[in-house]
């Protein structure tokens, strides 16, 4: 018994001495490959943003700008009303995110802590909403929004996408995993449901709420199809739509300007992401694995 244990032990040490080293080397190789594959296109964008048009269309193509220029940035800024795009993107992102977070907290609290005779049905209705993607609703929703007179308005961009099912389930799960005794104690102290929601549940579930808010923010900031449909004037476009039209109007002529314009959109998102990537990445992973 002791002998066989010793044998397996030495064997493990033997194999674990060689394979993991190779394996680890492969791991670093994979990391390097990843950084190159993801990084090169980004590098290409940044370097083009600092090249003159002459240089972009010179053969052989240069990897580093030979005569670096900053001119593309003001030129991109002036080629389209970017301050307006920023404003529109901020308003629709903030508005959409706030609506989703509030609705998700309210719905999740109700599902987690309140009694209701037809609760199963409500639950199923929300679950069903997950199965109806926005994309298939575009024609009827366009007609509704047009009838409401909301074409080219912030309401028209925000409200049709404000209801939230996924976030509701995410938060309900988080609320249910809170220590029950704390909530019970608040109830015994005579706190009503609204007090408990604001002063007990929301602070304790803060990480989950932040994750949900960030996911919602990214989705709204990048949203393309719906804002494309409900806006038809330049001054109501959001950033992604603006860049799309900039490329289309510039045609295939001025890549430096278009890459500079793309950076206007990518940079803020990347900065926010790098600051809070833990919340986003871990939140997504947790949501998927716990189901």
């Amino acid at each position: 018994m002791a002998l066989s244990e010793e044998i397996t032990l030495t064997r493990t040490i033997e194999t674990s001495w060689r394979t993991p080293r190779l394996w680890r080397f492969a791991g670093y190789l994979a990391m390097l490959a990843t950084v190159i594959v993801i990084g090169l296109p980004v590098y290409w964008t940044v370097s083009a943003a600092f090249k003159t048009t002459g240089e972009i269309y010179r053969i052989p193509v240069t990897w580093l700008p030979t005569e670096p220029t900053l001119a593309n940035f003001p030129q991109a800024w002036n080629a389209a009303p970017f301050e307006r795009y920023y404003l529109n993107s901020f308003i629709t992102t903030l508005g959409g995110m706030t609506a989703e977070v509030i609705l998700a907290i309210m719905s999740a609290y109700a599902l987690a802590f309140l009694r209701f005779p037809r609760k199963q049905l409500v639950f199923l209705l929300l679950l069903a909403a997950l199965m109806i993607p926005v994309e298939i609703t575009i024609v009827p929703n366009y007609l509704t929004v047009a009838r409401l007179g909301w074409i080219n308005t912030y309401a028209g961009i925000i409200i049709p996408g404000a209801a939230i099912a996924y976030g509701t389930f995410l938060l309900r799960q988080a609320f249910l995993s809170l220590p029950y005794e704390v909530i019970e104690a608040a109830r015994v102290d005579g706190a009503g449901h609204l007090r408990i929601m604001f002063n007990v549940v929301m602070p304790m579930a803060q990480p989950a709420i932040v994750t949900m808010a960030l996911l919602s923010m990214v989705a709204k900031w990048n949203d393309f199809l719906w804002p494309l449909l409900v806006t038809n004037t330049t001054n109501m476009r959001t950033l992604p739509i603006g860049i799309f039209w900039l490329r289309n109007s510039e045609g295939l002529i001025n890549w430096g300007v278009i890459m500079a314009g793309s950076l206007f959109l990518i940079i803020p998102v990347l900065i926010v992401f790098l600051m809070v990537q833990r919340y986003i990445v871990d939140g997504i992973a947790a949501g998927a694995v716990k189901g």
Partner: protein
């Protein structure tokens, strides 16, 4: 009395969310059913009820079946490549490597970027004369195909960008799944004399299968909703080489203003997605039953 008040609060909290879903999700689904039975150019007031004429029209076009084929090819290759490359990367990254979290963040960063802007950037990268890919192919003495202008290369180009953008999501989910496999299973396998290869086949892969299943279904559903990359990169072309069902729906609705045929496509898409979701739920149920 107390109970009644709780019911009322429940309704008040969940009401707004359900109301919005009613107006902008359930109603559009029903309205799509109705639309699929009328002949209507939605810029004009006149509607005509035509029974199944739209369905017959849509299904009898050779173009429709090409589009279905495109959708299938796009889904299979995008999801297949993402899942396979993602699995390999996750396995390699799932060891105590330095900068591992940094690599994970880099990999994930395209996921949070706007698909529209990613596509704008890639349309420059694909430029057959001045683009990045032509430069890289030039290093090994090859010429770049006309990616976006050649019907044979446009779909591979779209798939490439889609995989580039979404790979990090799969890796993050896989990594979470790998962390979820209990250590003891590996130790037990090791004691039983299982080598690294056996451990991979008999512990890692079965342990990952729920996560892989979740990923494959959600990723396939996501490809059915992929719009921004296709719209910006190829606009569904050349001709219809990269038109998928969702793009066709947009095209029929907002380029041809054919509300009836757009309704048919919406119903078809909904049916496909519903079937996939039911398969997923069935599988989850089974898993719960067995474990």
């Amino acid at each position: 009395m107390r109970e009644r008040r709780e019911w009322l609060l429940f309704a008040l909290l969940i009401g707004p969310n359900l109301f919005l879903f009613g107006v902008f999700t359930y109603w559009p689904l029903l309205y799509n059913f109705y639309l699929s039975f009328v002949s209507w150019n939605f810029l004009r007031p006149r509607k005509r009820f035509v029974w199944f004429e739209n369905y017959v029209d849509v299904f009898s076009q050779a173009q429709f079946w090409t589009i279905v084929w495109n959708t299938v090819i796009f889904a299979l290759f995008s999801v297949g490549l993402t899942l396979l490359i993602g699995l390999a990367l996750a396995l390699l990254l799932n060891q105590p490597l330095r900068y591992r979290n940094g690599a994970r963040a880099v990999l994930f960063s395209p996921v949070i970027m706007s698909g529209a802007v990613v596509a704008v950037v890639w349309s420059y990268i694909f430029d057959p004369r001045y683009g990045l890919i032509d430069q890289l192919l030039g290093l090994i003495g090859l010429n770049s195909p006309n990616w976006l202008g050649d019907p044979a290369w446009a779909m591979p180009a779209v798939i490439m960008v889609y995989v580039w953008k979404n790979l990090g999501y799969a890796v993050v989910i896989y990594l979470a799944g790998l962390q979820g496999i209990p250590r003891e299973l590996y130790d037990a396998a090791r004691v039983d004399g299982a080598g690294p290869w056996d451990r991979f086949w008999h512990v890692t892969l079965p342990g990952l299968s729920p996560v892989a299943f979740f990923l494959s279904v959600t990723s396939i559903l996501a490809t059915f909703q992929a719009f921004d990359i296709i719209k910006v990169l190829t606009n569904g072309g050349p001709v219809i080489a990269t038109t998928t069902l969702i793009f066709h729906l947009y095209d029929l609705g907002f380029v041809s203003y054919n509300a009836g045929e757009a309704g048919v496509i919406a119903i078809v898409l909904f049916a496909i997605m519903l079937i996939l979701t039911i398969i997923q739920l069935r599988y989850l149920e089974q898993r719960v039953a067995y474990s």
